[in-house]
């Protein structure tokens, strides 16, 4: 019963954040605009030949996603500061981890939605035809996004009350997210090249990192 209520609270928190986001479209517009700028700039900067595309495509794809995510999710806890809403949540019988996982879930859904819109554009603008299995690519995208969202949301929660929090965020985020970036890029490159075999170490690294950043907040926030 308690577990069910815990999950219900996480979903209610995420749904509330998504509802607020869909009304203001603050994060989504930033993420979409940034991704589009990346696509257009690089599509015109490089001649989209098969060889160039193969070399730069995986890196560009994740460059766009991660920087768009960084800029879009940075205001994750801003909504809770208005009218002291975070205090209102802490007054309720809600675990701090439920609040954190609610934020992670909302941010994950948001980034996945943006990625679903942007990913086909990457293929169109770079005239790229996927050779590898689509499901593998989707799995890599979902795991990569989850790892990034988990790390950024964790840092935002930790740094939220610090005066220099916003300045510290990129300094801490980029070193921490490097394993996710490398694993995601390597996986994407392997899948797009039509060589999904031999990627098991990168899969393991990405999954392990995601699990670690699911577990660490349990220790910190409870």
């Amino acid at each position: 019963m308690r577990t069910r209520q815990y999950w219900q609270q996480i979903w209610a928190l995420a749904r509330k954040d998504l509802l607020l986001e869909f009304r203001t479209r603050e994060a989504i517009s930033v993420m979409l605009m940034y991704s589009l700028v990346i696509i257009v700039v690089f599509a015109f900067a490089f001649k989209p030949s098969r060889k160039t595309t193969l070399a730069i495509f995986p890196g560009l794809l994740w460059l766009g996603s991660f920087f768009a995510g960084f800029l879009g999710l940075v205001r994750t806890f801003q909504g809770e500061k208005e009218n002291d809403c975070l205090l209102g949540l802490l007054l309720a019988p809600v675990g701090r981890t439920a609040i954190y996982f609610g934020k992670v879930l909302a941010n994950f859904i948001l980034m996945v939605l943006v990625e679903l819109l942007v990913l086909p554009l990457f293929f169109v603008f770079f005239n790229y035809h996927l050779r590898g299995p689509v499901l593998h690519l989707l799995a890599a995208v979902l795991l990569g996004i989850f790892g990034f969202v988990a790390v950024e949301t964790f840092l935002l929660a930790l740094l939220g009350n610090l005066r220099a929090g916003e300045a510290l965020l990129p300094l801490l985020l980029f070193p921490l997210v490097v394993p996710v970036v490398i694993a995601a890029v390597q996986l994407t490159a392997g899948i797009l090249a039509g060589e999904p075999a031999g990627l098991s170490d990168w899969w393991k690294l990405l999954v392990a990192y995601d699990i670690i950043f699911l577990a660490v907040p349990l220790i910190f926030f409870d």
Partner: protein
Amino acid sequence: MIRVENLRKRIGNKDVLKDVNFILERGSFTVVVGPNGAGKTTLLKILALLTRPSSGRVLINGVAVGPETAALRRQIGVVGHNSFLYAGLTAVENLSFYGQMYGLERIPGRVVEAVRQVGLLHALHEPVRTFSRGMLQRLAIARAILHDPALLLLDEPYTGLDREAEETLNRLLQSWKEEGRTIFLITHKYADGLSLADRFMVLVKGRVAYAEAVEGLGAEDFRGLCLAGGEGA
């Protein structure tokens, strides 16, 4: 019953609360006054389980409050300086959300009833960002009573209310008192809620300077106690 024993709260190198002792009987109505910086809000935060005392303890129905007693939050309703409401959501969305946070059943019915009590039924589906200060305060009161708490902690609840809303609040306080809820009302104006209160407490520089029954005290006595505590009426 709530028993506060030898409570002390140190923030930085300053004792915000020192040696605070009192008992809130079930169904009692206590008005707490004191000048700015007396420690009123810190005391309320400790009773609301938002912050822990540096030493001493709070017992609710004989159970010492600690991290493992978070479930006690279900018994507490708080009206604070801020509304704790999301400006981008409507009144009904805000209260439904908090209803889920408290794990309530029959949420739609409870929301309508709470909003009806504070006289905001006409604004049920309006975004909170369009609310006046008084409407926001009334919705904050609805949020605080949504889960039917046994203990109500109110920090300056009259702030921003017009005369009509003040009367609504007084009527609500009266009905909560009749229902047997324990009420702890913090104010800087002793007249607020005093006609309904049965205990009067003056907090000065983190200490309880006076705590007695209201009965038998005249208006001049209250004025004298408040002025002695450094607070005008």
